[in-house]
Symmetry: C2
Subunit: 797 residues, 2 copies
């Protein structure tokens, strides 16, 4: 499996258009008059839409479809055809319109109310999960650090600290092993922070199994293990993924994994509604993680919602609020202070008092400079992680290897930490009101503690808080410098392991460390008397710079940091810093999440078409020829079309022959593979309808019941007799698909596609004949590279 590159079928555009059907290679520049083929199938023009996800039927194919790291093509100049698109556009067929028209005003009211109920539930459950993670991590980490501390204290006197080191390394490795095994063997999609996956989902890409219950369970257990295992990770990122899974589950009113159907919320069983709820779930996750409900809303909007809707946003905000409130409430009970709602999020940066933390106008250039440093360091982090990921794809793709790597990282982390603490001689007096949770005395005098241990011998969240708030002189510069250096490489090595873990907290920690260092240096440069360079302030700015340099989020990150610090005063500096970090970082390398999305070759649509793409038109970007179906089509033809594994289209324009002569057929609708499968399953044939008059009419409910795991065509048996029957698609097709003329420029096509969240966009000529079909991959293929507009290649992986 090491030679994965050979499996990647490097198909160029021309290859793809002509594949399977034996159609002569078309360059797609000239529309071609469609021809009626002998098989009865109207090939207007054939294009590959995207590979069908055969779900879990073909077991030999399953592993390769699972999106395990080993399957990632190692070249970001590819676009995978394996990802399907979500359909944000309602299929307004006759069934749907009839249902909507039947529904009374009160019916819509009830729907609206149930949307609110669902969002409330999402927030509540997400908050509960966050609470669970927090408490379990705190308890387990407490036990772990307690045991190790006892051990260290014992052996500091007697000698033989290597035993403590071994104990520490073994404890870490065991926790990480558990976390890594469940991820690598049970659900590989639960690896990492999940933010790239949720970004893709909200963008409209269907990532297989990303919002399943199993993923949630693995994610939650995994993140507990990796944080307790002492890795350089945070528990915040995975909350976003968890919230999204909760949302996808709750909103559907059933669980396919548990085989339970509560028969509620059936109206929400389609991509449009589900995606709205997943936005709310992601926001609730951010809200629970950082205590930032507004930041959560902005995260969802920044990453996802292409069409802004006031009510939707308000619901997302409600879910966020409930989530942070729930977490807050239960944590207050856990901490025996019921009603004290002052722990808004998983991470608590502590309160920055506005009086002590003013900044001055002349500090702003300093902040901007720190932003630039953060951008450079972030880019370095991303480049190193990029190389590491390529290496992992090539050589560390088997689950057992992945587990071993994770354990190795855990052991190394423990060893490095121990060594740093051991050789550090930065002793600080232990004040009466010290905030250190596990102060290590080690070789310090009595009443003192090892300062390096505050940073290393602690959960990363606490270390960040210490760096922000400990008073001046708590750390000496050497300690901070060494810590930054080691933690930088540890965090970089850790991200991408087969464990559930976030990168937010490690980034903040690195940034806080060098930020504080900057603050100390500035203080020492300027007159020692003035205290304007409060190291805590610079730690905050450094943390923002480093995080911004790595993830390159902007608006939402500003608001998240402002909310997490509970101080609005730093809004402008944080924004300036994040912007500088983004500009500087983008000069070298993309953001971390974007790198991982690109390495998975996901057809991700950005906000706008590349600026210099006005010379491209729909004619050039569309797939053509397109496989079309007649409005009344033979069952055999449909089955053959669907079974054609070499094409695997997902949407078919429906055409109608207006006159008897050879005049080409006109577009009259669009139908999806999933709809055809349901129709075939229920044998909705014209002949049968005539013979059995009492037969139940197919309803929208049948489509909803099958959603989202439509059976593959192979599982549907169609007899030879039935193949000769006819199917009338009129009632089921979308009769008013959006169309564009061939001359439409790419930015215009892009805008329509993105604003409405389409999956298929029909390109028609001025006679309303189908000449092509634009799908997500046709648009995602063009991107701005270093040498102007570049075109990605399409691959079957």
């Amino acid at each position: 499996m090491a030679n994965i590159t050979k499996k990647v079928s490097w198909s160029s555009r021309g290859d793809e258009s002509g594949a399977g059907e034996g159609t002569p290679l078309l360059n797609g520049s000239e529309p071609r008059v469609p021809a009626q083929l002998s098989g009865g199938i109207t090939v207007c023009q054939v294009g590959r839409l995207s590979t069908v996800d055969l779900e879990e039927e073909i077991t030999t194919e399953e592993d390769s479809a699972r999106g395990r790291p080993k399957e990632i093509p190692h070249n970001e100049k590819l676009l995978s055809l394996k990802y399907e698109s979500l359909d944000y556009d309602n299929i307004e067929n006759q069934l749907f319109l009839e249902e909507e028209r039947r529904m009374s005003f009160m019916g819509f009211r009830c729907l609206e109310i149930s949307r609110w109920v669902v969002c409330g539930l999402i927030g509540f459950l997400t908050g509960l999960i966050a609470c669970f993670i927090d408490i379990v991590v705190e308890q387990l980490a407490g036990i772990k650090y307690h045991v190790i501390k006892e051990n260290i204290v014992k052996f500091t006197e007697t000698g033989g600290l290597s035993i403590s080191l071994i104990l520490w390394a073994v404890l870490n490795s065991s926790f990480v092993m558990v976390g890594s095994i469940i991820v690598a063997f049970i659900e590989p999609i639960a690896a990492g922070s999940g933010i790239p996956q949720i970004k893709c989902y909200l963008n409209g890409v269907k990532i297989p199994r990303v919002v399943r219950l199993k993923t949630l369970v693995v994610k939650v257990c995994g993140v507990i293990c990796s944080v307790v295992g002492g890795l350089a990770v945070g528990k915040e990122g995975p909350m976003i993924h968890s919230g999204a899974v909760v949302a996808a589950g709750v909103s559907q009113g059933r669980s396919t994994s548990l085989k339970r159907d509560l028969k509620i919320f059936e109206y929400f069983r389609r991509d449009t509604e589900k995606r709205d709820f997943v936005s709310a779930g992601a926001a609730a996750g951010v809200s629970a993680a950082f205590g930032a409900p507004v930041g959560g809303v902005l995260f969802s909007l920044e990453e996802g919602a292409s069409f802004w809707n006031q009510m939707l946003t308000w619901r997302i905000f409600f879910a966020s609020m409930i989530s942070t409130f729930t977490l807050n409430f239960f944590l207050s009970i856990y901490h025996n202070k019921p009603g004290d709602l002052s722990n808004p999020g998983l991470i608590n940066f502590g309160r920055f008092e506005s009086d002590s933390m003013e900044y001055n106008l002349y500090e702003i250039p300093l902040f901007i400079a720190m932003g630039a440093i953060g951008g450079v360091l972030g880019a370095l982090f991303n480049i190193l992680n990029y190389w590491l990921t390529i290496f992992r794809i090539r050589y560390v793709h088997r689950p057992c290897l992945q587990v071993m790597e994770a354990m190795l990282v855990a052991a190394v982390t423990a060893t490095v930490s121990f060594t740093m603490i051991y050789f550090s001689n930065d002793c600080q007096p232990l004040g009466p009101d010290h905030t250190e949770e596990y102060p290590l005395q080690l070789f310090c005098a009595d009443g003192e503690y090892n300062s390096m241990a505050t940073a290393f011998f602690n959960t990363p969240e606490r270390s960040v808080r210490s760096l922000f708030h400990d008073s001046q002189g708590t750390y000496n510069p050497l300690t901070l410098g060494l810590f930054t250096l080691t933690y930088f490489f540890l965090a970089c090595w850790t991200y991408g392991l087969a464990v559930s873990a976030g990168v937010f907290i490690p980034s903040l920690l690195i940034g806080a460390a060098w930020g504080r260092l900057c603050g100390i240096l500035l203080s020492s440069i300027t007159s020692a008397g003035t205290s304007w360079a409060d190291p805590g302030k610079y730690a905050l700015i450094g943390a923002a710079a480093q995080l911004g340099g790595i993830v390159r989020m902007t608006l939402s990150l500003t608001v998240i940091l402002v909310e997490a610090t509970g101080n609005i005063t730093y809004g402008l500096p944080i924004m300036l810093v994040l912007m500088t970090a983004k500009i500087v970082g983008d000069y070298f390398q993309e953001g971390l999440y974007d790198i991982h999305i690109k390495l998975q070759s996901v057809p991700f649509l950005h906000w706008e078409a590349p600026a210099t793409s006005h010379w491209l038109t729909a004619r050039e970007v569309m797939s053509s020829p397109v496989t079309c179906l007649n409005r009344i089509e033979k069952v055999g033809t449909i089955v053959d079309t669907l079974s054609n594994t070499s094409t695997n289209h997902n949407g078919f324009p429906v055409v109608v022959q207006v006159s008897e002569n050879d005049e080409p057929a006109k577009l009259c609708g669009l139908i999806l593979r999933s709809q055809l499968i349901v129709l075939l399953k229920h044998k909705v044939f014209v002949e049968l309808a005539r013979s059995r008059l009492t037969r139940r009419k197919l309803q929208l409910k049948d489509f909803r019941d099958a959603y989202p795991r439509f059976p593959p065509i192979q599982s549907i048996h169609v007899s030879q007799d039935e193949r000769e029957c006819m199917m009338d698609l009129t009632e089921f097709m979308n009769p008013t698909p959006y169309t564009v003329p061939q001359e439409t420029s790419l930015p215009r096509v892009f805008k329509l596609f993105r604003a409405l969240g389409l999956r298929h966009l029909v390109v028609a000529d001025d006679e309303n004949r189908v000449v092509g079909l634009v799908t997500r991959k046709d648009l995602a293929r063009y991107h701005l590279g270093k040498h102007g507009l570049e075109e990605l290649q399409l691959a079957q992986t």
Copy 2:
């Protein structure tokens, strides 16, 4: 003019379609085969798009087009045809595409940078304006209150306080007179808070003169006069309008009023770009007014941007941040504390310390009940104001009457305040660290002050702050009750006067008063010892409830209030309260801004089509028949079409005859009135181009120079010879207008129209022939009334 109703031409749908052209009345249900008329004009189907705004050429018409209150039809079941639509869709004609294709990647970079620069400038200037208003108001109000206080002190001893009253009333009336005169006589659009107008602008409706420099000057001076004049108004609402005007001015790089063209930012001279900047300006205004940069962004997005764009939002945020920063910085200098950036906005609610202001779970039902009260009171406020507005439209429409009414209100406000203070015997001890700016002793003992005066004898902002923060026992319940009652009616009477003024602060003040009252009553009901019912907390909740009940904003208001109080802890309660207030209030009456928008019959598009409108299709809603133009059209025909005052279309589908026989013409593009006018002005005729080869080719610059005040057709002279020339529209028309089939349901049409911010949407049949045109008014016409779906009538006013 009292019988304004007679001037309103109550035209039904049928009337409108058949008007002018003498075309037989069509009900628009069946497409009609177009006929070539003798005049050379291809009447596909004729529809009224919207009345041309003849700008300031026809002076007799000017007054009526000015949107003065007297012109508002007094029936909200009408939809005015006088408002044009903005075009958020780029006109991608050949000229545009050529320019875009010529532009290098660096060119786009520079454009992006200049967008940032413009946003920075917008923020800076908006902040400066806010600073100017704040300082001038403070100075003038200080002088006023000082003079009156001296006077009162003098006459309290000697008797004859009626002289003080007269002094107060005269001072107030004179300020208000000045403010009212400039508004009523110079720029009536500057009346009120400007938020309804900006909402409409961001929604895509072109409100004449709303973003002009003159409006800004009148607005700023007007708001100073009305606040200093002691009216029950705030200076915050107008900031939003001011920010929008600044944005519209700065982004165009020229001022038509000042006749200056800086020849910069020419690329931004079109609706798309301008509207983006106006969003930023509005956000900067909110940010400066409330110190709420995030709230400002959310306000803009909630009210405006239909298509969410990450970069745009980030720029809006930047403008907001710069705005609040600028205000902060200059105010810190003004207050002699340079660098102390703790005055984030015009209003300063003071800092709510999180320690003292915890809330408990059992208080949440109380908050919700207060939200309901706020909803009821808000609805009452709106109903009263609605009746008052109708009354004003009928009887108080002449500027001098308006000025007199404003002066009357000012005098009454002073009198009522004085009476309340005079008869109040709520004396409070004047502590050593009292915060009252102008403590009035009046009949109180030495060392005491009149508590009623704290509320009345003060700018409203200060009164709000006192109600939030004054310690328990500062006010007695009777004082608060009386104050609430009087201020409620005063504020209600004031809103809608011909003065620049906001409704935010009066609403907050009313709410804070009765909220504090609730707090006091709750304290007295429960055991007197416990202090959980901090009156300041209840004042805040009451303020939120009242404001929410009046304006019915939700998400952005939550964030604005959270940011203004600087305390995130109250996020959830405030949200619950605002939601309750909205639900309860909506049961009785719409929000105040929506009422005023409706009373002006603006074709405002909501976020979604009415829920129960699925049975309507494009066929029913579209205007038809449509006036089409040929691709190569006779100049005379074009001039006649544009001059036809009975139709006044603004967009014309361009069609082309494919074959010689009578087959109907196919759609090939769309051209706007404004483009045709520029073409006629530059005499872009086929014959002239042939004769004069050296003639300069028309460029995009010519269109930009004419934007946005295109001359009316009457000002363009076309000789009889020229009328026989031909015009080739190919290069200038938009060759790829969006089209929908006739069967498309209304929600689907609505979604496309709204998501892309269209102005014209062509309805085509399956032969690509034009059968109708959907414009804003066709969609805005349908709304959910109390008895299900209602259709508004169209009126020419």
